[in-house]
């Protein structure tokens, strides 16, 4: 063998300076454009402060702290439990006074005071002024607080045919203020969302899987709100929200299912929410949204 040392030297030099792991191959797990990502957000971060009793308010405008001066919300709601489904329509208009902040005794903001500023009607049906109450916890006790007034309308379908929610259409909004001119505009509504929940596995076997499907539009996003409920309670407790492309299907991440607080809740409520926002340039600091919500309550095996 001729001069093996020369080759060994070259080899050692190669090892010293040349060993770099190639970059990994990047894989996009979901075959979707990068601007339509999934995100997860906790909805009830401070249970020791607020009582999240308002049920589902997926956009979080009302509870605990609305941040807009004017909020107009229209909801077409389906509630399903087993084979039963009930539909209803809900609408409210909230006008807050940001100069009046309501706080707990230790200075935590609960919300802004809201006022009645005139007469509000949806599709020419007048909304009813109702007191707006919230609850918070103070030294372990639940404290009721009045945060003002809200223009509110609700109706279960079947009890009246006055205001079935017109999906993929418009609802007219009219505000007749105490001072000033009337404000009138149409609020477009989204296509109705109808969800389906398939549960497999069991909690005990730690192989629980929850697959969600809905009628997709392939436009924009939908929100999936996961909440817990005890059989003796009416309002579910919202836990987190998953915002996904409106493509019709997703499986809830197994890690989220594994850590669902089944010791606190024996039922899950999964809400499918599709929203359509309207921007009125004449009204500042406002949000106008029409949404379709399908709440499905399931007993977790």
């Amino acid at each position: 063998m001729k001069k093996p040392y020369k080759y060994i030297f070259l080899l050692l030099a190669f090892i010293k300076f040349g060993c770099t792991e190639p970059a990994p191959t990047e894989i996009i797990v979901q075959d979707i454009p990068s601007d339509t990502q999934v995100d997860i957000e906790v909805l009830s971060p401070e249970p020791d402060l607020y009582v999240y009793q308002n049920g589902y308010d997926s956009i979080g405008y009302v509870a605990p702290t609305p941040t807009k001066r004017a909020i107009i919300n229209l909801s077409g709601i389906r509630n399903t439990y087993k084979e039963y489904t009930v539909k209803r329509t809900s609408a409210f208009a909230l006008f807050t006074d940001k100069n009046v902040k309501i706080e707990t005794p230790n200075g935590r903001t609960i919300g802004y005071y809201s006022r009645l500023i005139g007469k509000v009607s949806f599709n020419d049906i007048g909304a009813i002024p109702l007191p707006r109450k919230v609850q918070y916890r103070w030294h372990g006790e639940i404290v009721d607080t009045l945060l003002g007034w809200v223009h509110y309308f609700t109706q279960k379908h079947g009890t009246s045919s006055l205001f079935p929610f017109p999906y993929n259409s418009n609802i007219s909004f009219k505000l007749e203020p105490i001072v000033g001119n009337d404000v009138t505009f149409n609020i477009p509504t989204p296509e109705e969302i109808v969800g389906h929940v398939k549960v497999s596995g069991t909690r005990r076997d730690r192989n629980l899987e929850i697959a969600l499907k809905w009628n997709s539009t392939n436009v924009g996003k939908v929100e999936l709100v996961i909440g817990g409920l005890n059989r003796n309670e009416i309002s579910p407790f919202p836990l987190y929200k998953i915002r996904v492309p409106d493509n019709g299907a997703i499986s809830i991440p197994k890690s989220l299912i594994k850590t669902f607080p089944f010791d606190r809740f024996n039922q899950m409520v999964i809400s499918f929410v599709r929203q359509k926002f309207t921007v009125d340039p004449n009204v500042n600091d406002q949000i106008v949204v029409a949404q379709t919500v399908h709440n499905i309550k399931i007993d977790v095996p």
Binding site: M1, I15, P22, A23, I27, V42
Partner: protein, 664 residues
């Protein structure tokens, strides 16, 4: 014919295994045939599961790679050591570069206290090390086993929800899963003939010592479907190789190599194409290679280039649906350039046979070119010094007359035996005009299993000039045949002047009359001139005799024989061997007359002889004395009288003192 037979065998084999062949078998060494560089193992488990090799003693291999994309980096791919002990061969390899990793972007954002975290997963596959063993059952048949250890890991960012009286929150935690396993495969190789190697091997035959799993993501584990690889290595012509490996999965790799002698070593080039069932397009990529090897080192440079780019962000479907079946070659592999270095450390004799002696038994007469194809010019005594019988391939190179090394027939020598080995050669027409005699050197080589020669010797040899003759009458025919065009021109010129004569000639007498007319014309212009005194006999080519208008007995016989042969008249030389060593040559001419027609030319039955043709029919041949230079009848009479007296009456033909040599 032999080549056609081999190609037919190859074709049939390819047809019978059309449903097979492979991507498990893409080798980072470059797809060189196992029939070449047997001293170095320029392949590994991928294409050589059975560990077929001809390593002499120790061998060390180091392989590095440059990954061209997405960012050019280099990596140490493999280090291995091989050791042969008798018929056993042991092999071990460490493969730090046999790895593939993935970054799986789930496109899931988690919003926690106004901060956003992207959930990702990382997937890593690696083959850490392996062991091989081969046993040589015979010179033609061997089998072996390979063991390989694999590790895989899958780390996944998961979002967990924590719920308490005081706070609800999302946290991200990276969960990691690992899996290890061993893989064992077997393979066999069979070499029915020297230039054909068949092999069959398994892949993923035994998967054992499995530990761990990718919980909830088993689809991402390395696929270990079982299958088989069928391989063919074929050398249709010297130093040109074809090879194919077919897998039962439907994948295949085919390629060819060619090698040249250069600077005390060999330089080789190769190109392979591969089809992978799990990759697109049909020809997933190709593998050009270059290789240099000498006695101690082997250097290999090969590229693996994919038909479709594997760069950039890839969709998940391929990975999630079919996973990967091979760490070093899959639908996500990057283009690479691999450099391999083999070092051979031999502490054993590098030869099986050696020369005892070489004897030059025939000097070279360039004009007798065909002679040395059937008659050896040298004989060597060769001893087998190995512990088993070996097939010896003798070859030689005569600097003055050969363009390339000429191989002589192989011979099998038993262990410890000494045998005579014959060396033949082919005289190159382009090498020289052979105007003068010279001493040249002959390189004699012996080769067996090793690519390098087991032994070599050099001896001087006399190369005569083109007019030199060894005095053997039978070899005068080479002078006759060497210059037939000019003779034909001469004959046609003479015969064209006698057209009217031939019109009146009966058909059976055509050859006789033509011979007579040509002879009379030939001798009328010729003079008998003896050869100058010299150590070697000198024979003129027919052209020279016709041009010089003279020559000795040999020259005139050769020239007139050439004239007759050029127009289709058969001739033969009659060699009258005398005890004093001085031979005399007459010419025999086939008149094509049947025995019953001989009356047309003579009534004297001593003036002709009957010889059987290829149909076993008698034909009338007449002798001619070329030195009388008088006329045809006289020359015939002189020759006939001598032939009858010496060859017939004195039993010269029976005793062997008279020998007839046909020109063709």
């Amino acid at each position: 014919m032999y080549l056609k037979k081999q190609l037919l065998i190859l074709f049939i084999l390819l047809i019978t295994v059309t449903d097979t062949f492979s991507q498990q078998s893409l080798d980072i060494f470059g797809g060189f045939s196992k029939l070449i560089t047997p001293k170095f193992r320029i392949n590994s488990f991928e294409s050589n599961t059975m560990n077929y090799n001809k390593t002499i003693d120790w061998e060390f291999t180091f392989s590095g790679a440059v990954f061209i994309a997405p960012k050019t980096v280099s990596d140490l791919m493999m280090g291995s050591v091989g050791k042969s002990i008798g018929n056993h061969y042991l092999y071990a390899r460490y493969t730090p570069g046999f790895r593939k990793s993935f970054l799986l972007n789930t496109d899931t954002l988690v919003t926690i206290s106004d901060t956003v975290k992207i959930l990702n997963s990382k997937l890593k596959y690696s083959e850490k090390f392996g062991f091989g063993y081969n046993y040589q059952f015979s010179n033609k048949f061997s089998g072996g086993i390979s063991l390989r250890y694999f590790e895989q890991s899958y780390s996944q960012d998961n979002v967990y929800f924590y719920f308490s009286d005081s706070i609800n929150t999302l946290v991200t935690i990276t969960d990691e899963y690992r899996k290890e396993h061993w893989r064992a495969d077997i393979g066999f190789s069979y070499q029915p003939i020297e230039n054909l190697l068949l092999n069959v091997s398994s892949y993923n035959l035994f998967i054992f010592a499995e530990n761990g799993e990718f919980i909830d993501n088993q689809n991402l584990e390395l696929k270990v479907e079982k299958g088989a690889i069928f391989g063919i290595d074929f050398e249709p012509i010297n130093s040109f190789y074809l090879l194919a490996n077919l897998e039962t999965s439907g994948s295949f790799i085919i390629g060819s190599n060619i090698r040249f002698n250069i600077a005390e070593g060999k330089l080789g080039f190769g190109l392979s194409l591969f089809h992978d069932k799990y990759q697109e397009p049909f020809i997933a990529g190709f593998q050009p290679s270059i290789n240099y090897s000498n006695r101690s080192i082997n250097l290999n440079l090969t590229a693996i280039l994919y038909s479709e780019s594997h760069e950039g962000i890839m969709p998940a479907n391929d990975l999630l649906n079919s996973g990967i079946h091979n760490i070093t070659n899959n639908q996500f592999s990057y283009n690479t350039i691999n450099a391999n270095l083999n070092l051979a450390l031999n502490f054993k004799p590098e030869k099986n046979v050696e020369f005892v002696d070489v004897e030059i038994i025939n000097e070279i007469f360039p004009t007798f070119a065909e002679e040395y194809i059937s008659i050896p010019f040298a004989i060597a005594k060769v001893t087998n010094i190995s512990n088993s019988s070996v097939v010896v391939k003798p070859s030689s190179f005569i600097q003055a007359v050969n363009d390339e090394i000429i191989f002589s027939p192989s011979i099998t020598i038993q262990s410890g035996d000494t045998t005579e080995v014959q060396f033949f050669t082919i005289i190159s027409e382009s090498k020289s005009d052979y105007k003068k005699r010279e001493i040249s050197q002959v390189d004699f080589y012996l080769s067996t299993d090793y690519e390098e020669y087991d032994d070599e010797q050099q001896k001087p040899i006399l190369i005569n000039d083109q007019n030199s003759w060894d005095g053997k009458v039978k070899n005068l025919r080479y002078f006759v045949k060497s210059d037939i065009t000019q003779s034909n021109k001469y004959a046609k010129n003479i015969l064209s002047q006698k057209k009217s004569l031939f019109k009146e000639t009966p058909k059976p007498l055509v050859n006789f009359v033509r011979t007579k007319e040509l002879f009379n014309n030939f001798v009328s212009n010729m003079q008998y001139v003896s050869d100058p005194r010299a150590s070697v006999e000198y024979v003129q080519f027919p052209t020279q005799t016709l041009k010089l208008k003279g020559g000795d007995c040999d020259d005139l016989s050769v020239a007139f024989s050439s004239v007759l042969e050029s127009i289709g008249i058969q001739t033969a030389f009659v060699d009258y061997i005398s005890t004093d060593g001085i031979s005399h040559v007459n010419l025999l001419v086939n008149t094509k007359l049947k025995p019953e027609e001989v009356i047309l030319i003579t009534k004297n039955d001593k003036k002709y002889m009957l010889r059987k043709n290829v149909k076993r029919e008698d034909e009338v041949w007449i002798p001619i004395e070329m030195t009388s230079l008088t006329n045809f009848e006289t020359s015939w009479d002189i020759a006939a009288q001598k032939f009858y007296t010496v060859a017939i009456e004195n039993y010269g033909l029976s005793k062997g003192s008279v020998v007839i040599y046909d020109i063709y």
